[in-house]
């Protein structure tokens, strides 16, 4: 056999850079071969409200969109977007540091400064870029990042991009965090990264203790409040507000794609030199800024969220009702008590999880199917995220759907 036929014998995949994805493709084909609808290819043909859409031809209750405060169809927010679209056009076609800073971007940053009562705010094009940009820029080679092992992908990617030394600790384990922090070599820069709410199980971090320990050990603290903004804390500033340690957080990262109801990311800070980030943070500089309509909707939404205490109270009620209802039906949940607006239902395995997901969709309910490797402990989860616009009756309807689907698939 000559060299040429050796290559042929090696199969068509020889030299194909896509062969590394073969296991994933096989896993996906396996799920689809069992006849279930593709959980990762859902199309919403029509969106009726923050809580209802036509999905794959069915009228569906949305319970997996992170649209916590239901701002996506707020009339004032929509009006602000329309006005900006008419007056400023469809896009900025430029970076924030060149031609991409419009009046609306400044107004959006002003709204954030007011919302968080902080000195500085910087708006990024997505939440992912906010984490990627801030983390990779402030923690570089030789610096140490102490972070929760269940941190979001954007946090891990920020650590990798900045080439800092990442030291993970066991999820929400105060002692494990403290031990690692104390082992960082003398003189090295230290950044502790925490999340207010962890999106997979919907559990809250013990920020009061963790931030105190981080500060005692001379570390700067960055808290990602993506899943708590607008909802947790008296003014909706997040878990750090509820825990009473917001003044000790050096950086708060957030997103517009959850409670705010549009797209974009941000960082707020009281650091006196914070503004230098606008020039040295590559994911901020080397990308186009958000369209005028997006920053106008974000700014209007953020200002309305400042006065959202009634909605916050109703959202807590929804979260408590869904948690209690699912628990009494016999489902295994991610937390013993409701800690946020995310209720994670733990599935026995991916196959059963996909079956249950499909059964719910046929009932007219959309939830998030989360699978390894995005999930902790290789769990398959059906993640439900509640909205302040879900009515009490809707939550009862949802529980009925879970009961029927759970029994049909043999999960309860």
């Amino acid at each position: 056999m000559n060299a040429q036929s050796d290559i042929e014998a090696g199969g068509a995949n020889q030299g194909d850079l896509f062969s590394k994805f073969d296991d994933f493709i096989a896993m996906r084909d396996g799920i689809l071969a069992s006849g279930v609808e593709d959980p990762f290819n859902l199309v919403m043909e029509k969106v009726l409200s923050p809580t209802r859409a036509i999905c794959n031809g069915r009228d569906t209750i949305l319970l997996g969109t992170y649209n916590y405060m239901g701002m996506t169809f707020d009339p004032d927010v929509i009006e602000a977007g329309k006005e900006a679209l008419t007056e400023f056009g469809t896009g900025t076609t430029g970076s924030r540091v060149l031609n991409g800073t419009y009046q609306g971007h400044k107004e959006c940053e002003d709204a954030l400064k007011e919302f968080y009562d902080m000195d500085h705010a910087m708006v990024f094009s997505t939440g992912y870029q906010a984490n990627l940009g801030i983390i990779s820029t402030i923690a570089g080679k030789g610096d140490y990042i102490i972070l929760d092992i269940d941190s979001h992908a954007s946090i891990w990617d920020g650590c990798a991009m900045g080439k800092a030394e990442a030291v993970p600790f066991k999820h929400n384990d105060i002692e494990a965090m403290e031990k690692r922090l104390k082992r960082v070599p003398e003189g090295a820069g230290k950044l502790v990264i925490l999340e207010g709410v962890y999106s997979m199980l919907g559990d809250v971090a013990p920020l009061k203790e963790m931030v105190r320990i981080a500060k005692e050990n001379g570390a700067m603290v960055l808290v990602d409040e993506a899943h708590s903004m607008g909802f947790i804390g008296e003014n909706g500033r997040g878990v750090c507000e509820a825990a009473g340690i917001i003044d000790d957080c050096d950086f708060i990262i957030g997103t517009f794609s959850k409670s705010v109801g549009t797209v974009g990311g941000f960082c707020v800070s009281n650091h006196p030199k914070f503004d230098v980030m606008r020039y040295v943070c590559r994911p901020y500089v080397f990308t186009a800024s958000l369209p005028p309509s997006v920053v106008a909707t974000a700014a209007t939404s953020i200002r309305k969220l400042m006065h959202g205490s009634n909605k916050r109270a109703h959202l807590w009620e929804n979260s408590k009702n869904l948690h209690a209802g699912l628990k009494s039906l016999g489902f295994q949940l991610g937390t013993d008590t409701p800690e946020s607006a995310i209720i994670a239902v733990i599935m026995p395995d991916l196959q059963k999880g996909a079956m249950m997901w499909e059964a719910l969709l046929k009932e007219g309910l959309y939830v998030n199917l989360a699978r390894p490797p995005a999930t902790p402990a290789n769990m398959t989860l059906l993640r439900c995220s509640l909205c302040a616009e879900h009515t009490e009756e809707e939550v009862q309807t949802v529980l009925g759907m879970f009961e029927r689907a759970g029994k049909a698939t043999g999960i309860i």
Binding site: I149, V167, R183, V184, N378
Partner: protein, 79 residues
């Protein structure tokens, strides 16, 4: 602690993770021979860190593919 002592300590620590009782040599790999998944790696690394009072960063972990390399790294780190 010299390399032999570190080796013997790690052997004790790895036992509960070595479910199939794979024989340990310096060339034994964590992923292929011991079949450690990412969760097992995380728990195992945490145990080593606490036992030797060290940190093994993600960058260092990426380089440690075999049992021998781990013993070398820990010997150096706890110095």
């Amino acid at each position: 602690m010299d390399r032999a002592e570190v080796d013997s300590k790690i052997r004790d620590l790895i036992a509960p993770f070595n479910k199939k009782g794979v024989e340990l040599t310096d060339a034994t790999t964590f992923v292929n021979d011991l079949e450690f998944d990412s969760l097992t790696v995380m728990d195992f690394v945490a145990e080593i860190e606490d036992e030797f009072d060290i940190i093994i960063t993600m960058n260092q972990q990426a380089e440690i593919e075999t049992y021998g390399l781990l013993v070398d790294a820990v010997t150096k780190l706890q110095d």
